[in-house]
């Protein structure tokens, strides 16, 4: 295990990174006050890496993800994302709450990204069918979302993002609202899907278990204003089985290590700056 404390040095953002975060910070205006969501930090994420950001609520991890998704802009600093090709979308986001469109059938929801890009219809159908089958949605292709359970809706959301074939997948606590069994099933399926595609994944979670099960690398965040306080390598061999992993002594050791790191942080309080 090569755990290294995170110093936030400029070295951390190397030149060949897939995602290079440099001197990034983000504040929000709340009337007369400004609330700092993210403290200035540097970080790089490499191509094909599965990275989990782990932290207490309010630590700005969702803000970071939304900036990567192009939904928000930094207050200071920059994020440089290295594109492989112009033919594929750069990012697709899987949101925490239900974000699939209730007025589209499951099939059309999964095809959404491809339709937006004007992919030929036949190609769309092949890709959609592939990911419907992979996500266990084959039977529900013509259903409307209101006919599905919460777990099935998140599967549609996952299928929609994968079918869009982006270079980077962004996931904002996609399984947080699900019951434990469904959550573990979907984590397992995500691992399988990821094994096939080996995309760069940035995954936000507040669950230590989830981070250790999924990631190559866990970035532990401080409370607000958020900044990385530790960068932990997770080296369990792949393919991984979620239920087996939890029985490993090393899993328990790392769980405890991260818990101590989080526990050393003061609870998130809004910090006012001028």
């Amino acid at each position: 295990m090569s755990d290294r404390a995170f110093k936030g040095s400029a070295k951390a953002a190397s030149a060949d990174a897939k995602i290079a975060i440099r001197q990034l910070s983000k504040s929000y205006d709340l009337g007369h006050d400004q609330v700092k969501a993210l403290e200035t930090f540097d970080l790089s994420i490499h191509d094909g890496e599965f990275v989990c950001f782990l932290g207490p609520s309010g630590c700005g991890k969702t803000t970071l993800l939304r900036m990567l998704a192009g939904l928000e802009t930094p207050s200071q600093g920059e994020i440089v994302v290295r594109r492989q090709t112009q033919d594929r979308p750069l990012t697709s986001m899987i949101f925490q709450e239900t974000s699939i469109f209730p007025w589209m059938r499951v099939r059309d929801n999964v095809a959404f990204g491809l339709r937006i890009r004007g992919v030929p219809r036949l190609e769309q159908q092949t890709a959609v069918q592939h990911f419907l089958d992979l996500c266990g949605l084959g039977q529900f292709a013509d259903a409307y979302p209101h006919q599905l359970s919460g777990g099935m809706k998140q599967r549609v959301s996952v299928a929609r993002a994968f079918a869009n074939d982006p270079e980077i997948l962004l996931m904002d606590e996609p399984f947080a609202a699900l019951d434990e069994q469904t959550k573990i099933t979907l984590q397992q399926e995500l691992l399988r899907l990821w094994n096939e595609t080996r995309k760069t994944v940035v995954f936000i979670t507040h669950s230590i278990d989830e981070a250790l099960v999924l990631a190559d690398r866990v970035i532990v965040m401080s409370g607000r204003p958020g900044r990385p306080i530790a960068d932990i390598a997770v080296t369990f061999p792949r393919p991984r089985l979620v239920h087996e992993l939890k029985a490993e002594p090393e899993f328990g050791r790392q769980w405890h290590q991260i818990w101590s790191l989080l526990g050393s942080q003061p609870q998130a309080l809004p910090e006012k700056v001028k």
Partner: protein, 279 residues
């Protein structure tokens, strides 16, 4: 005889009531019976002279008049003209209202520019604009289409605006993250998401259209249910007036039913969309 015991028995609901009683008590029967009963009372009261037949001719005489107007073909002509004016006026008002509502709903800039103007015109009773409309467009059909269109426009516009304002932000975030163009966002997100609100606006708009068309048909025309009603006032033919009123009611109700069916079909993605109805 039932002996007192310590048992509580939960049993199927006993149905000792005779069959005829259950039929009378069913809601469907009540819904049909109550207006029929009212008509019978009206008929009796009219024949016995309890109410003034000059204002309230008996239902039987109204129905005779209705059948006369149908067989002479006059009623169909009036109905057709009114339907035509409502339909043309409706589309004239609803189409720009939906487009403008969608565009403004997603653009704070356009909202800032247009909203005060539209909000200022909105409280004016639309029919009060009719003299001005007639000055501009003459006494013919155009002025009637325009006044109906204006009445429909406001209902549909504000409903569409509310519909777009109520779109869950996350759907627009998804569209943005997936790189949807403005046009794609309108067509694939804003329009379907706001559709339930737009439908409600259209139903309110139809109601307004009927009010306005009946008044507008007072002027510069010899056709339409509104004309029928105003003429019967002038010649004191009260039975014709009741026929006209009845036809407006039937027309309005028929359009609402048709729109309800269309809504249930178009918004099948929304659970229980069909149960929503103004009546």
């Amino acid at each position: 005889m039932v002996e007192p015991t310590n048992e509580l028995r939960i049993l199927p609901k006993a149905s000792h009531e005779p069959g005829w009683r259950r039929v009378v008590q069913s809601h469907a029967v009540m819904a049909v019976a109550s207006p029929l009963l009212a008509l019978i009372l009206w008929e009796i009261a009219g024949r016995l002279g309890w109410i003034d037949q000059r204002f309230f001719p008996t239902p039987s005489s109204i129905i005779r008049e209705l059948l006369d107007l149908i067989s002479s073909g006059e009623l169909v002509v009036h109905l057709g003209w009114t339907l035509q004016r409502v339909t043309v006026g409706f589309f004239l008002g609803a189409v720009p209202a939906i487009l403008l509502g969608l565009v403004m709903g997603l653009s704070p800039t356009l909202t800032a520019i247009f909203r005060p103007i539209i909000a200022a015109i909105y409280p004016i009773p639309k029919i009060a604009l009719f003299p001005l409309i007639m000055l501009m467009f003459g006494l013919g059909e155009t002025s009637k289409w325009v006044i109906v269109g204006i009445a429909v426009f406001f209902q549909v516009f504000f409903s569409t605006l509310a519909g777009v304002a109520n779109i869950d932000r996350i759907y627009l975030d998804v569209a943005r993250n997936f790189g949807a163009s403005r046009w794609q966002a309108y067509r694939m997100i804003a329009m379907p998401a706001a559709l339930p609100f737009i439908f409600t606006g259209c139903q309110l708009g139809i109601g307004m259209a009927l009010i306005v068309v009946v008044v507008a048909e007072q002027f510069g025309t010899k056709t339409g249910l509104g004309y029928l009603i105003w003429r019967s006032w002038q010649v004191f033919e009260v039975r014709d007036m009741f026929v006209g009123l009845m036809m407006v009611a039937i027309l309005g109700y028929g359009i609402q039913l048709a729109m309800g069916a269309l809504e249930g079909w178009l918004i099948c993605w929304k659970p229980h969309a069909k149960t929503k109805s103004l009546l």
